[in-house]
Symmetry: C3
Subunit: 391 residues, 3 copies
C-alpha cells in the first residue's frame, strides 16, 4: 500500500471520529440550555436549539462551505469527512446564541439570522482565518494563531449573541428597581450532563483541528492537544469551585461547570503549542474570568441566562491572546488584531442584520408571553406537563 | 507489514468504532421512550427496554448469529468485531417495539417474543437479505439494495410492532366516543436527548455498514455515507418544523425530532449511493411522511405512543423504495419485492407468535393497572417518586 | 512507512478512542448517582462528583502518574495518549466513592482525601500491579492477572468507600428501631442513562487495556475483550431481572442495572482470556451477587445509597478470583494474594487518612443539614427548584 493511501485512510477515519465527538456537543448544548432555563421555556429553547442547528448545517452545506474554502477538494483525506468536520463547527456558533437569548426570543427571526450565519457570516470568518482568505494582502489581513477557534468559533458566537442581546433586551422582570432578580436553573442534572458532553466534544473539536494523525509527529500532537484541552477544563472547574467557596462558602455547580467550559474555550486557540503545565494556568485564569464576568454582565444589565458571553466571548478573547503571551513564536499583536478584526466584523454584521430582521419579525416576545412561558406560546408543548410547579 | 494485515487491523478498529456508536442508540431509545410516555409508565418502559435489549442480544449471540450468517468466520476483520456490529443491530428491532406497545403491555410476554425475534425471526431476515441466503434461487429470493437496513432493521421492527399493537390494542381511554385523547410527552429534554443519541448512533449504523474503511475508495464511501445520513436527518427536521408551523403556528419539538428520525430511517437503504443533494429530498419526504402518518395511525385507532410506526415502518418502506427511484442501477421492482417479502414474513410470523404467546401470557395490562400505571404494578419502582403530579 | 510508525500511529489513535469512551463514564457516574439520591441532595452529589473527578485527575497529572509508572516515556505510542488513558481511570476510583457516601458527607474533607487518592494511594496500587513495581522481589510482590482493574480500580474504589462509610456512618433515619427505611431513587431515567453510559465506557476501559490494536492478534484480542465485556453485562442484567421477578414478582430496574454493572466489574479482570461463553457465567454470578449483597450490607447497617459496594467491591473481588478459577494458566492463589494485598493496603491507608481528616474537617453533615438536604447547605443550588415535592 502506498504511504499516501495509508495516510488518507487513517486521516479520514480520524476526522470522522473527531466529527462524531463534536456532534455530541449538540445534545451537550441542548441539555445545558434546557437545564439552565425555567421549566416554562424548556421546550422552546430545545426547539430553537435543534432547528437552528439543522438550518445552520444545511446552509453551510448548500452555500457556506464553498464561501469558506472556495472549492470542494481535498487530497489528504476524504472531502466528505473534511466537510463533515467543518460543518460540525457551524452549529456551535448558533447554539452559543440560542441559550443566551432564551426565555424571550422568538424562533422565526432567529432562524432567519441563522441562515445568514451559516451561509455567509461564519463562512467569511473561516475564510479569512483558516480558508481561502479573500483579504490576503490587504490591510485587514489577519495572521492570528487559532487552532480550533477560540476566536473563530467561540468569540464569533459570542459577538453575535451580544448583538442579539442588545437588540432583544433582557427577560421581563430580570432587572427591576435597580435590583437583579436571580432566576435559578430548573434542572441541575441536565446542566451537568450538557456540560460534560460539551467537554467530551472538545476532544474532537481541538484534537481534530490538528488535521492529521497519520505521522508520528502528528499523533503526538493530537494526543498532546487533547491532553492540554482536558487539563484546562480541569483547572477551570477547580478554580471556579475554590472562588465560589471562598466568597460564598457554597459550591455553585453551575459556576463550576461554566468555569470548566471557560477553561476549555480559553485553551482552544493553542492546545497544540503549550507544554503540559501551561494549560493549568490558562484554565485557572479562564475559570476565574467566568466567575467574575457573570455578575459583571448583570451589572451592565446584559441578560444572558446561560452565561454564554462569559464562557465563549470573554474566554474566546482571553484564549486567543494567551497564545501570544505564552508562545514566543506567536505575535501578541497578531493575535490582538485577529480578535479585533473578527470581533468588529461579526458584531457589526450581526447587529445590522439582527436590527433589520427585527423590523419585520419582532425578536422579543411580549410580556404576557414571557410570563406564561415560551413553551405554550411557541411550541404548544410543555416540557414537564405532569409535574406540579412549586413556583 | 502486509497490506492485508493493515486492512484487517483498520477495519476491525473501524467496526468497533461504528459498533460503539450504535450502542449509543440503547440510551437513545431508552431516553426517547422514557420522555414520551406518562410518568406513571416511565420505569416500566425503561425496564422493558433494557431487558429486551439484553435478551435479544444474548439470543443473537447464542443462536441468531449462526442462523443469519451460517458460520463464525471472517477473514477481512476480527470475527468478534463483526459479530458485535451485527449484534448491535438486533436490539434496535426490539427497542422499536418497546416504545410502541408501552403504557399497556406486560414485560414477560414481550420478553418471550424477544427471544424468538433475536434468535430466529430477525436472523432469518438478515439471512435472506445480507447473509447466508437460504432462499437463493427460489421464487422468493430477494435482490434488494438495503445498505444498513431501512427494511432489514426498521421495517422489521415496525412490522413486528404493528402486529403487537393489533393484538394488544390501544391504551385505555385513548380512543373514546370517537375522539382521540391527546396524551402529551412527560419529559421533553429526555425526548431530545434520546433522539440526538439515535442520530449519532446512525453514523455508526450506516457508516459501519459500508463494511470497510481500509482503501481510499472505501474511506470516501464511508465518509459520504455518514454525510448523506446526516443530511437526511437535517432536512427531515427542517420540513417537520415548517409543516407544523404552517398548519398550527406552533413548533412541536416531538414532531421535529420524529421528522429527523424519519429522514434518517429513509436514507438508510442507500446513503452510499446518493450524491450529496439527493438525501435532502429523501429527508424532506421522510420528515413529511412522519407528520402525516402520525395522525393517520390515530384515525385508524392504531395506538403508537412514540410514533414508531411512522418513523420506522413507513420510512423504512419509503427509504427502500427510494433507492429504486433515485439510483438507476437499482431496480425499483427488486426493492418493492424486498419490502413485500420481508414485510409479509415478519408480520405473519410475528403476528402468529404474538397471538400464541398472548394465549398463555396476556400482553395487555388490565384497565386498573393501566390507570394506576405500569411502574407500580410491574416494577415496584416509580420513576419520579418525590415529584408531585400535576395531573 | 516504517511498520513501527504505523503501529505507533494506530495505537495512539486507538488509545485516544478508548480514553474518550472511558470519559463517558464521568457523565455516567454523575447521572447514575444523581438519579439514585433524593432530590434534596442531587446538586451536592453532582458537585462532589465533578470536583473530585477534577481534583483526582489533576493530582494524577501533577504527581500520581510519576509514582505509578516512574517515567514519562513510552515508545510504542504517544506518551500523552498513554497518560490520558491512565488518567481516565483515576476518576473512577473516587467517583465510586462519591455516590456511596452521598446524602451525608461534606465535600471539603472528601476533596482532601481525593488529593491523596489521586496523587498517592491509587498510583501505588497501579505501581505494584501494572507499573514500576517497587515491591518486586519482596514478600508482598503480587503477580495477579487483572487486565483492566477488577481489583486495581473497582475494589480499590470499593475498599476506600467502605472505610469512608465506616467513619461517616449511615444517613440519618436510615436504620431506626431495628428497621431499614427504604429510600427510593428520585429519578429513574437518569439512573438508566448513567448505567448505560458506564456500560459504553467499559468498552474503552477493557478494550483499551489490551494496550495495542496494531497487529492482527491484538485486533482480535481487543475485539474479543469488548465482546466478552458486553456479554457479562448482558447476563448480569438478565439474571438480576429474573431473580427480582422470582422473589418479588416485580422488575426493579435499579437492581437490573446494578446487575449489569456487577457483571461488567466481574469480567474486567480477564475479558481477553475467556472464550465467548465463560463471560455469561461470570456475569450471571456477578449479577446475582449484587442482588444478594445489597440487602446484606443493609443488614450490616453499612449504608450505601447507590449500591457501589455490591457492584464494585464484591464483584471486583469475584472478578479477580474468577480469572484464577476459569483460566488454567492463572494461579488462583496469586489472584487471591493480589486481592488481599491491594485490599489491605487500600483499606488501611484510606481508613487511617479518612480518620485523620475527619478530626479536622468533619465528614458527616449534622442531622438538621441532612434533613434539609445537602443541596441548600453545601451548594446553595437546588436541583429542581421549580418542581413541587410530593414527599
Amino acid at each position: 500500500m502506498l504511504e499516501a493511501d495509508f495516510k488518507y485512510i487513517i486521516d479520514t477515519f480520524f476526522t470522522l471520529f473527531a466529527m462524531v465527538l463534536i456532534i455530541f456537543m449538540v445534545p451537550g448544548f441542548a441539555m445545558l440550555e434546557a437545564g439552565l432555563v425555567r421549566t416554562k421555556n424548556v421546550s422552546a429553547v430545545l426547539t430553537t436549539n435543534i432547528m437552528i442547528y439543522s438550518i445552520a448545517s444545511m446552509a453551510f452545506l448548500l452555500i457556506g462551505y464553498t464561501i469558506a474554502f472556495g472549492s470542494w477538494e481535498n487530497s489528504s483525506q476524504s472531502i466528505w469527512a473534511a466537510f463533515l468536520f467543518q460543518m460540525a463547527f457551524v452549529g456551535k456558533t448558533v447554539n452559543i446564541m440560542s441559550g443566551g437569548v432564551s426565555e424571550r426570543a422568538h424562533m422565526i427571526p432567529l432562524a432567519i439570522f441563522t441562515v445568514a450565519m451559516g451561509a455567509i457570516i461564519y463562512p467569511l470568518v473561516v475564510n479569512i482565518s483558516w480558508g481561502a482568505d479573500i483579504i490576503a494582502g490587504t490591510m485587514l489581513d489577519i495572521d492570528m494563531y487559532d487552532l480550533a477557534g477560540s476566536t473563530v468559533i467561540h468569540s464569533t458566537g459570542g459577538w453575535a449573541l451580544l448583538a442579539a442581546i442588545l437588540i432583544i433586551g433582557s427577560r421581563k422582570g430580570r432587572y427591576q428597581n435597580g435590583k437583579i432578580r436571580v432566576i435559578p436553573a430548573s434542572n441541575i442534572p441536565l446542566v451537568v450532563l450538557g456540560a460534560l458532553l460539551l467537554w467530551i466534544g472538545w476532544f474532537g473539536f481541538n484534537g481534530g483541528s490538528v488535521g492529521s494523525i497519520s505521522s508520528v509527529e502528528n499523533a503526538n500532537l493530537v494526543a498532546k492537544t487533547i491532553m492540554n484541552t482536558n487539563t484546562a477544563g480541569l483547572s477551570g472547574a477547580i478554580i471556579a469551585g475554590i472562588i465560589m467557596y471562598v466568597r460564598y462558602k457554597l459550591f455553585d455547580i453551575t459556576m463550576i461547570l461554566n468555569g470548566a467550559l471557560g477553561g476549555l474555550v480559553a485553551v482552544t486557540a493553542g492546545p497544540d503549542l503549550y507544554d503540559m503545565h501551561t494549560p493549568i494556568l490558562i484554565g485557572l485564569i479562564g475559570g476565574a474570568l467566568v466567575v467574575f464576568a457573570v455578575p459583571l454582565f448583570d451589572k451592565l444589565k446584559i441578560d444572558d441566562p446561560v452565561g454564554a458571553l462569559s464562557v465563549h466571548l470573554i474566554n474566546g478573547i482571553w484564549g486567543t491572546l494567551a497564545v501570544g503571551i505564552f508562545i514566543d513564536s506567536v505575535s501578541f499583536m497578531a493575535q490582538l488584531k485577529g480578535v479585533v478584526v473578527v470581533g468588529v466584523f461579526v458584531f457589526v454584521t450581526s447587529y445590522t442584520l439582527l436590527f433589520i430582521i427585527n423590523k419585520f419579525f419582532k425578536f422579543r416576545a411580549k410580556d404576557d408571553v414571557q410570563v406564561e412561558g415560551m413553551d405554550v406560546n411557541e411550541c404548544g408543548v410543555e416540557a414537564y406537563p405532569e409535574f406540579k410547579r412549586a413556583i
